[in-house]
Structure formats: C-alpha cells, structure tokens
Symmetry: C2
Subunit: 148 residues, 2 copies
DNA sequence: ATCATACATTTGTATATACAATTATTGTTG
DNA sequence: CAACAATAATTGTATATACAAATGTATGAT
C-alpha cells in the first residue's frame, strides 16, 4: 500500500505524520475485509467480538460490564448491542439472581454454531490480510506496536 | 500496550490474530488522542482532513469527488460533511461555472486561521503518540505496514 | 435535435454510536 | 435502620455514517 498514491499527495509527508496516516489506511483496509467476511452472517465486528467473549466464558454467564471491559473496541452502549444478538437468537439474557442489578448473558447453541462458521470466514480473511507476513515480520510488528 | 492485559485474555492468542487485535487497539488509542486534541475546535478528524485537503489546493477550489478521493478515510456522504464546515464558516461552496454538475469548495480565511491552530494542537498530540519512536523505528514500521 | 447514458451531487432513510439522564438495586455509615 | 452514595443497566436524544434512490447536468450516438 503506497500512502502518497492512495491519498493523492504530491509532496512528501513528514515521517511521523506519514506513519499515522499509514496506520489509519491499513486499519481501514482490515476493517473493510473483516466486515465483508462477516456480512453473510449479518453481524458487526462488535457483535462478533461479544460472541467470542461469551464463548470464552465456557458456559458461565457474563454481565454487561465484564463484556465491556473485554471488548477490543469499547462501546458506550453494550445493552443495545446485546439486544441485537438476542433478536438473532445468538444469546440469552436474564437478571442475575444473586445481584439483581446485574444481568447474566450466555451464548446459545445456535450462537455457538453460527460463531464457528464466522470463525472459518474470519480465518480466511485474516490469511488474506496477512498473506505477506512471515513469523518474524509479525513479531517485529508486534514489538513496534508495543511502543504506542 | 499489552494486548492480553487490555482485553483481559487469560490464554495466549495466536500471533496473527494478536497482531490484528494489536493494530485495532493502537488505532483506537490514536483516534482517541487526536479526537481529544480536536475537541476544542469542535471539528471531527474527517472535517479536519477536508480542511487540510482544501489548504493543499492553494486557493484553487476542489469539488466533492476530488475531496473524497484524497481523504484518508473515505466518506459515503461528503456533502453533509462539507455542510458542517460551511455552518462553521470554515469553507465556501458555489456551483462550478464551467460544469454546473460540480461544486467548487474553497477554504475561507477564518478556516485557514482555525486550521493553523488545529495543526499546533495535532502536532502536540502526534508528538505524544510517537514519543517512544525514533527515526529508525518509524521507517521500520512503515516498511511493515507496506506489507498489508 | 433527441434520446440514452454517464457524471456529480444531494436527499431520504435506516442503522450505529456517543453522551447524559434515569431507573433499579445494593452497600455503607452515622 | 434511614439516608445517602455507589453500582449496573437501561433509556432518551443528538449526531454520525452507510447505502440507495433521486435530482440535475453534460456528453455521445444516431
């Protein structure tokens, strides 16, 4: 991906600025490819993320604040995000009996089944996104990202 | 930034997946800091980007499609983005006399003045974001990003 | 000159997200 | 134990964005 070409910049951009633009362009591309991979399932990346968190609970319910703190991109409104998953039958919600302020959210069998299909689709998308990277590249990139 | 800690993951994440999550977490942080730097001016990153594009025109007007192709993150609706800048008095719009399908958009003096203030604020934000990077790191990172 | 097509922008509508205010429940403290 | 603060989730509202359809203008073929 060539930065200057992509944003039609004639003059050279200072290295720091260029890096941040570059990061944004790459992230846009990643978002685009992953959103497309999820499109057939009619779930957003955020919804997918919630399903994965719930699967990670291994049957234990999670409440909204737990979900929120584990999400890659935090949401200001997890209630309505979960509402959408309930509508699709992927999760169930009920009030926590020990602390009735909380809710308990669990992934359903149908949600688990759908999620495993999504995993396959996402896996393919990730392979495409990372096709030019070998193990050493990835390690190096992770090291550099740690500096942020 | 520690990935596993940030998303409270107990088990180790495969390197490829980890990299993509890492990218997203870093981008969220960048977005957050830059959005905050722009907050006093009440413009979004997108609006700021349009202003910078218009300044780059050196007095020449730009039409919507030109703006759109130069934006870092493309928008499906540049009309309404420009509307907001007009309301703030940062840009002017009129129909192109040679081709009345197009519109001509120019940045105003007030827009230029505001933009130079934003540049200062953004510059500081960028310095903070990149404080741990030296020139070699940045070059290396740009090289790796090219692989996407 | 007329018609179909392509182009550039605008508008309508549905959905998504941010932020603040509200409700309901629990915990604390004088 | 009553009053107040803290916690957890929900709701209201404003704004943002995506996508499709509509509008107005120009171009090319016949």
């Amino acid at each position: 991906m060539n930065v200057e070409e992509t944003i039609r910049s004639s003059k050279k951009i200072p290295l720091g600025q260029r890096t941040l633009i570059h990061m944004q362009l790459v992230q846009n591309k990643i978002d685009d490819i992953t959103a497309n991979a999820l499109k057939p399932f009619e779930v957003s990346m955020q919804q997918f993320n919630v399903l994965r968190i719930l699967r990670g609970q291994k049957g234990n319910p999670a409440n909204l604040s737990t979900i929120n703190e584990r999400m890659v991109t935090k949401m200001s409104n997890t209630t309505r995000l979960v509402d959408k998953l309930i509508k699709k039958g992927f999760v169930n919600r009920c009030v926590c009996p020990s602390n009735r302020r909380k809710v308990e959210i669990v992934i359903t069998d149908s949600g688990l089944e759908a999620l495993s299909q999504m995993d396959k689709a996402l896996g393919k998308a990730h392979d495409i996104i990372l096709k030019n990277f070998d193990k050493k590249d990835l390690e190096q990139l992770n090291q550099l990202l740690d500096k942020f």
